[in-house]
């Protein structure tokens, strides 16, 4: 309890630093996610449509997946130095595999006869993508994005190790000063962010699978 009230007092006393760290944390997480989406969704779709592309791309990203988050951060360090940018790169790499793999699987799972009847009725490629393929791939894609978000929000904590800022700063400080209350200033909001994003995406996922549950 002492640690909790201590953490609360710390936030009140250093509110500017806290909000700043929270802002950086959210910004870096969202940016990483957006970049991963922009890169991996089209790449995943391309892989699903061109088999020759899928083997090398999937292999590369599956290999990336095996590397632990902290290891990625540390590996980036000698290349890009410290700060926001290298942390962003590391987090983006982290967000890519689940989005890419699930987009690929989502598009691959669409029945070929559904696509044949769609084009047989004169739907344009763009219309098929928007009205048929995206909605049908959505449940798997959303599941992938959910995994990526939770992973990125949690791992953004580690960005503090390479000077990227964010809520991880408090955790590192708390640890090094043996002050449990300061550690909680970082840990609790991170946990809440992760849980909140899990819930938000679970709701979206439920909505996209309505047709499967009737």
């Amino acid at each position: 309890m002492d640690a909790l009230t201590g953490a609360y007092d710390y936030v009140l006393a250093n509110s500017e630093r806290f909000w700043d760290a929270l802002r950086v944390h959210v910004t870096i997480s969202l940016s990483a996610l957006l970049i991963a989406l922009v890169v991996c969704v089209p790449l995943g779709i391309a892989c699903a449509k061109k088999q020759w592309l899928s083997v090398p791309v999937m292999a590369t990203f599956n290999a990336l997946r095996v590397i632990p988050s902290l290891a990625i951060l540390v590996l980036i360090l000698p290349i890009m130095g410290t700060g926001f940018a290298p942390a962003l790169v590391a987090l983006t790499l982290l967000a890519c595999p689940p989005i890419l793999v699930n987009t690929y699987l989502g598009f691959r799972s669409i029945d070929s006869f559904v696509l044949e009847s769609a084009s047989g009725m004169g739907m344009s490629q763009g219309r098929i993508l928007r009205r048929i393929e995206f909605p049908l791939a959505a449940p798997l894609m959303i599941a992938g994005i959910k995994t990526a978000v939770v992973e990125v929000v949690a791992s953004a904590t580690l960005a503090a190790f390479i000077g990227g800022g964010g809520l991880g700063t408090f955790i590192i400080n708390g640890l090094s000063m043996y002050k449990f209350s300061i550690l909680l200033v970082g840990a609790i909001p991170v946990a809440m962010l992760a849980i909140a994003s899990e819930i938000v995406f679970a709701v979206i996922e439920r909505r996209t699978t309505k047709f499967q549950r009737v």
């Binding site: 029945d111 009847s117 084009s119 047989g120 009725m121 004169g122 049908l136 047709f211």
Partner: protein
């Protein structure tokens, strides 16, 4: 090519990449407007390829294909497809859309307003005998037969002149299939669409088609009426395929009114009667079961207008 032809194949060839011989080989065929043509053949004979070239799901590698006098390559491909109904064996309904949304696919592409689309959807559901309260259901809540009814309604939504059907009833159980066949025949008679219907089922081909195309190894063996095909098979292949030696099959294809003769004596009480559009097969059955010398044939008002005897059927055999 004359305007009364809906579809004309002019030396159309399709050779798939890496295939040693063409799937469809220099095939010419003219299909009249309003005809119900079934394409019959074993798997791999090129019948599906022939069908799918009409809406360019498969691109011909040679020859010319025209629809209502227009070369299909001169029409934008999506426009061509919107004007041709397309039904496949696997149905291919959109699982994430309701029945109503599925049927409204083409109207939505064409940008019809809500009211018109809704009216059309209801009309079609009635036409294919689907209860209107199915409209908000999803495809997986329907049985296979019901799904294919939706498939047919969806194909007809834009009121196309031509329907292409690739073994539409192939995956449906026998009882449901018979019902679907009968219902679809009614629909076609009512609307007079030009139908190209691929099947590997001889009975289905002869029952539905007013013309039948028999294909083998990429070429058309015969294009004829069901009766013409059964009584005058063009070659040994056709003979084998449609069992032309089967007398019952031939009798099945002839209506009582076509072969009846004038009454030789006035009708008596208790004599077996059939209506004019019943098949000679049914007539034969009545003759054998009821042990009567003749069967009376009635007109639409139920008045006996002719008679059939075993001798007439013998002659037919």
């Amino acid at each position: 090519m004359s305007a009364q032809h809906a579809i004309v194949f002019d030396k159309v060839t399709k050779t798939f990449p890496k295939a040693s011989k063409p799937s469809v080989n220099e095939t010419s065929l003219a299909i009249e407007k309003g005809a119900f043509v079934t394409i019959l053949g074993a798997s791999g004979c090129g019948k599906t390829t022939l069908l799918k070239m009409v809406n360019r799901i498969i691109e011909p590698s040679g020859g010319k294909l025209s629809v209502f006098g227009k070369d299909i390559r001169e029409v934008p491909v999506n426009e061509l497809r919107q004007s041709i109904g397309y039904v496949i064996q696997q149905v291919g309904l959109f699982p994430h859309m309701t029945i109503e949304e599925n049927i409204a696919t083409v109207p939505n592409i064409l940008g019809w307003d809500r009211q018109k689309t809704q009216k059309r959807t209801e009309e079609l559901m009635e036409l294919v005998h689907l209860p209107t309260n199915f409209k908000n259901r999803y495809p997986r809540q329907l049985s296979g037969g019901q799904q294919q009814r939706v498939g047919i309604a969806r194909a007809m939504a834009g009121d196309p002149e031509i329907l292409l059907m690739d073994e539409p009833f192939g995956a449906i159980d026998a009882i449901t299939r018979t019902k679907l066949q009968d219902d679809f025949l009614d629909i076609q008679r009512k609307l007079g669409k030009t139908v190209l219907f691929v099947t590997h089922d001889v009975d289905e081909a002869l029952k539905l088609g007013d013309r039948v195309v028999v294909m083998n190894e990429g070429t058309i063996q015969q294009y004829d009426t069901p009766l013409g095909m059964v009584s005058k098979p063009a070659n040994e292949f056709v003979k084998q395929l449609i069992r032309t030696d089967d007398l019952f099959l031939r009798l099945q294809l002839i209506n009582a009114s076509e072969k009846m003769i004038a009454l030789t004596e006035p009708p008596r009480e208790g004599e077996p009667r059939v209506s004019g559009n019943e098949s000679l097969r049914n007539v034969l059955q009545r003759l054998l079961v009821q042990g009567s010398g003749r069967v009376l044939v009635e007109d639409a008002d139920g008045l006996p207008v002719g008679q059939l005897t075993l001798d007439i059927l013998k002659f037919e055999g």
